[in-house]
Symmetry: C2
Subunit: 260 residues, 2 copies
């Protein structure tokens, strides 16, 4: 099973390849089409993982898990409900989440499954949507909840979730992944906070790709964050959040310590 990673080598060069245990078998060519192995192996300690892709946008779902919708008293939607996190919000594994300057409020984590788009995609049906999925990654959909609800006339979804470093993705893109058997586990400083089954999703990855592709063109590398479920909460400056999905890996990001 291929787990694609993007990396920065010691000499500053950015590359991608297949992540195998603790090393990377480098590939070249078009990441999303038919990449070819170069034969080079980058050993452990000689690279830094980057976000596994550089999305033009993250389409982030609201209310896509039965358990959370039930808790909040929100009926299941018939079409994907989403907001957009800009590409500038994206960071990769190990990179710090930065508190926005001047914001003293809570910062919340949301562990989620991310779908990575393989090729340009518009108005596709559910049956063919799988052809447009490159693979799956872990997402921490970081949120500033006091910004979200600051103005009672206008819910600031894009602003509260769009800050730089608030779109954590990685560590890899798992090309083959059986989401129906997997769970999302989120820990804060090692303590379990979320542990929910992906089988509880209201709309499946194929339904999400199809539905959203009827709303806008999805581009190679774009990420759909599938929404979260029970157990979201806030973190302190210096805390580390880990989003773990078996078959993909573990995405760790700390909220940078100290006020700015």
């Amino acid at each position: 099973m291929t787990r694609w990673a993007r990396f920065r080598a010691e000499d500053g060069r950015i590359g991608f390849g297949a992540f195998e245990e603790d090393r990377i078998a480098e590939f070249t060519g078009d990441f999303f089409a038919s990449p070819r192995p170069t034969g080079a192996i980058i050993p452990a300690g000689k690279f830094t993982l980057l976000s596994p892709c550089a999305p033009s946008k993250i389409v982030a779902l609201w209310n896509n898990f039965h358990a959370l919708g039930l808790k909040l008293g929100k009926p299941a939607p018939a079409h994907p409900m989403f907001l957009i996190k800009p590409g500038t919000s994206v960071i990769g594994p190990g990179e710090p989440i930065e508190r926005p300057i001047g914001y003293r409020g809570k910062i919340a984590y949301e562990g989620e499954l991310g779908i990575v788009i393989r090729r340009q995609c518009k108005d596709v049906d559910v049956g063919s949507a799988g052809d447009y999925i490159h693979g799956y990654t872990c997402v921490n959909d970081v949120t500033a909840p006091e910004v979200l609800n600051e103005n009672t006339d206008f819910a600031q979804w894009c602003r509260s979730k769009g800050f730089d470093t608030f779109g954590c993705i990685g560590p890899v893109i798992a090309a083959e992944f059986d989401w129906q058997q997997a769970r999302v586990l989120t820990t804060v400083d090692g303590v379990e906070r979320q542990n929910y089954p992906l089988s509880d999703m209201i709309m499946s990855p194929e339904e999400l790709v199809s539905g959203i592709s009827h709303d806008m063109t999805l581009l190679p590398g774009d990420v759909i964050a599938c929404g979260t479920s029970l157990g979201i909460g806030s973190i302190r400056d210096g805390s580390t959040v880990e989003v773990i999905i078996e078959g993909i890996g573990s995405l760790r990001n700390a909220l940078a310590p100290g006020a700015r």
Copy 2:
């Protein structure tokens, strides 16, 4: 006064230059840094105007005009309230607005001033924000209002305004532009529907760039749509919307005729 245009030449080549009456003096190099004239003149009829830039995102303001806020009973916000329209929503002058497949509801126009960002911009103060503005363009912030309000629990700002072709910008970027003296005039099939002064803006272009740059990194070519004022409404299939701002030009886009 330089009015920057992007164009497709007869041979398919894409270029940019200074728009002078009905011809283009071609430039080369970095559009946003120090472009140099090539000496070539592309005469009228030998080019098609494109969107004057290719933004990674449009940051679209809600409630940024006193007159509209007063009519809707919404107090003036203290910080820019916005949603994100994806780069895939952008079309240029003369390109058709396409009705989303399966959507039979109203399609609304909103004539607006657009700010085009010159260089990467994060956490800038109001005093220096002008250095990050490349110029100004006209925007038609097209909206599917029935989508916006379809779900009573979640206002679908990004979806209702993010459809492909719903971000009309152009025809040019005016490098020097005195927004305080200008008005936004919007016509539908030649009949005036909006005519409001930009001096009624709640937050000025410099305040918008500064405020939004504290929320996310703005990239060269990104567009801030300054919000609209009185007179918005819906259009029929086949109708032409024209957004006219003296000193910038006229942006015309028709809603493609016929249901899909």
